[in-house]
């Protein structure tokens, strides 16, 4: 019987430490963050239900969730999402290629830089939404317009960061490449461009954010399909839970893009000199 004692005395603290541990877990920042979200949703649900608020002003989270799933299942929200994604990334891809090429050209030629500088200085600070009317006059409201507005948003940050990145390249690396026989083109492709990649990616980060804003804004103004169009229409007919549902999709899109960029950032660390 004597040898059972230590076992008992071990069990007692382990029971309290389990409670203690789960309390500690609740205090962990990550867990706490999700708990706060849950708390807000539950309070929201309870308050709206209790106060019998008109769902036109504030629908309950459960109603929004139902609206969201119905829109996806039968309401064609998926095709709206895909249309918006195609516009964002299509325009963004154009901006990435054109912006990087112009950036390289500007960074390697003082003349090109002098010619392009004034135009960029004038266009970069201009809020790009203000170009929507002009672009509609020129391109109509279809695909070309959507791609153009998306490309315009991402273009300038990418150009500017490409130029910066290339100009910051360690001159020692250029000397080393020339010493090893690299031609001007090889220096650009094998030294300047790779060394500028972290900076170009910083431009991509900024630019993609602007593209998303512009495409959704343009869809709200003239779109027939797309998340922005869906959002605007739902608002017009006071389908408030649909408005919230589209906002949720847009928020998730934003989070996904940010996470993907963080992931690429980690991978890009190999570029940074110790």
């Amino acid at each position: 019987m004597q040898d059972e004692r230590p076992i008992i005395s071990e069990r007692v603290p382990s029971a309290t430490s389990f409670l203690h541990k789960s309390m500690q877990k609740l205090g962990e920042p990550r867990v706490l963050g999700w708990l706060a979200v849950a708390f807000v949703l539950i309070t929201w649900e309870a308050v709206v239900a209790g106060a019998r608020l008109n769902p036109i002003y504030l629908p309950r989270p459960s109603q929004i969730l139902i609206a969201l799933t119905t829109m996806f299942r039968t309401g064609g929200l998926l095709s709206d999402l895909l249309a918006t994604l195609a516009r964002i990334f299509g325009g963004f891809a154009i901006a990435l290629v054109a912006g990087t090429l112009l950036g390289i050209w500007m960074a390697t030629s003082e003349r090109v830089s002098a010619v392009a500088d004034n135009f960029i200085a004038a266009l970069y600070p201009l809020p790009k939404v203000t170009l929507i009317p002009l672009l509609i006059i020129w391109l109509g409201t279809g695909g070309p317009f959507m791609l153009a507005i998306s490309a315009l948003g991402a273009f300038f940050p990418i150009v500017i960061n490409t130029v910066l990145g290339i100009r910051q390249c360690d001159p020692g690396l250029i000397l080393a490449a020339r010493d090893l026989g690299a031609t001007n083109r090889q220096v650009v492709r094998m030294v300047l461009l790779p060394s500028a990649i972290p900076s170009i990616f910083a431009g991509v980060r900024l630019g993609l954010g602007v593209s998303i804003i512009l495409v959704v804004a343009a869809e709200m103004v003239v779109g027939k399909v797309g998340l922005g169009a869906r959002l605007y229409l739902a608002g017009q007919v006071l389908e408030t839970e649909q408005v919230f549902a589209v906002l949720i999709v847009l928020a998730i899109l934003g989070v996904a893009v940010t996470k993907a960029q963080d992931f690429i950032d980690v991978w890009l660390n190999q570029w940074r000199v110790s």
Binding site: D170, G172, L173, L175, A176, A177, R178, D179, L180, G181, A182, T183, Q186, M190, V191, P194, S195, I197, Q270, W271, R272, V273, S274
Partner: protein, 270 residues
């Protein structure tokens, strides 16, 4: 290797550039020297005397204001317009996004050499500098001494007729320096390349060079050409020889006044 080597002739090379203020700065003044094939020549001088600039002029990365550099094939006696050259840099200048093997293979890639041969030659050179097994590492994962051995392999893989060394061990600690100096001496001898070594270390110059060119403070001129007749292979024990001490003193006396002058120039421009 049965190479006969390349000789270097430098005739009246001067370089004047304009400083940020617009005032002309005379960096090099009528520098002339001859370097025999397969010899190691050290260029030593006070900081700012233009010795690294001279190296870049020899390499053709910088054009002199006047004067010229010629390379002569020792076997044929013909002026070689484009000898194979490669440089080892004080700051290593390795490409941080490339692995060790890809850094070494850079020059071969640029020259369009087939992948299989690139891999083969890269591996051989890395094992020559005792860096086999580090192929897939990135430069940031290596110590300074290891980085410079990669830098050395990157130059040697080009099988250069002329190897240029720009204070290659300046950024390394004293012990690493000694080991790498001995390794470099062996590799240069084996490869039959003509080598020009820029350094500010008298010890390094004596241990590695057949000839030492002592330069003056700015504007850089050749103050003296000194033959190093010490037996090879040289090592730390060479520094205990009396011939070493007298050579060291001779060079130090030549340099001392120039260093004082260089400090005065620096103080003036500061």
């Amino acid at each position: 290797m049965t190479r006969t080597g390349v000789a270097i002739a430098c005739d009246d090379v001067s370089l004047t550039y304009s400083a940020k203020s617009g005032a002309p700065v005379e960096a090099l003044q009528r520098v002339s020297f001859r370097i025999s094939p397969r010899q190691v020549t050290a260029v030593i001088g006070p900081s700012g005397c233009g010795k690294s600039t001279l190296l870049q002029i020899v390499r053709g990365l910088l054009a002199p204001s006047s004067g010229r550099i010629r390379f002569v094939d020792a076997q044929t006696g013909v002026v070689a317009s484009t000898p194979r050259m490669a440089t080892v840099w004080q700051g290593f200048n390795l490409f941080p996004w490339r692995t060790v093997a890809d850094n070494v293979a850079f020059g071969l890639e640029v020259a369009g050499i087939a992948r299989q041969e690139r891999i083969e030659r890269t591996r051989r050179c890395l094992s020559q500098v005792d860096m086999a097994g580090f192929e897939v590492k990135h430069p940031r994962q290596l110590s300074g001494g290891m980085r410079q051995r990669v830098g050395l392999a990157r130059a040697l893989v080009m099988e250069p007729d002329v190897l240029l060394l720009d204070e290659p061990f300046g950024a390394l600690d004293a012990q690493t320096r000694l080991v790498l100096q001995e390794q470099l001496a062996r590799l240069v001898e084996k490869s039959g390349t003509t080598a020009v070594l820029v350094t500010h270390s008298i010890e390094e110059a004596i241990l590695l060079a057949d000839t030492i060119l002592v330069m003056t403070a700015r504007p850089g001129r050749i103050a003296a050409e000194i033959n190093v007749a010490l037996p090879r292979p040289r090592s730390l024990s060479t520094t205990h020889l009396s011939a070493y001490s007298s050579l060291f003193d001779q060079i130090y006396r030549l340099l001392r006044d120039e260093v004082v002058k260089a400090m005065a120039i620096e103080a003036e421009s500061a």
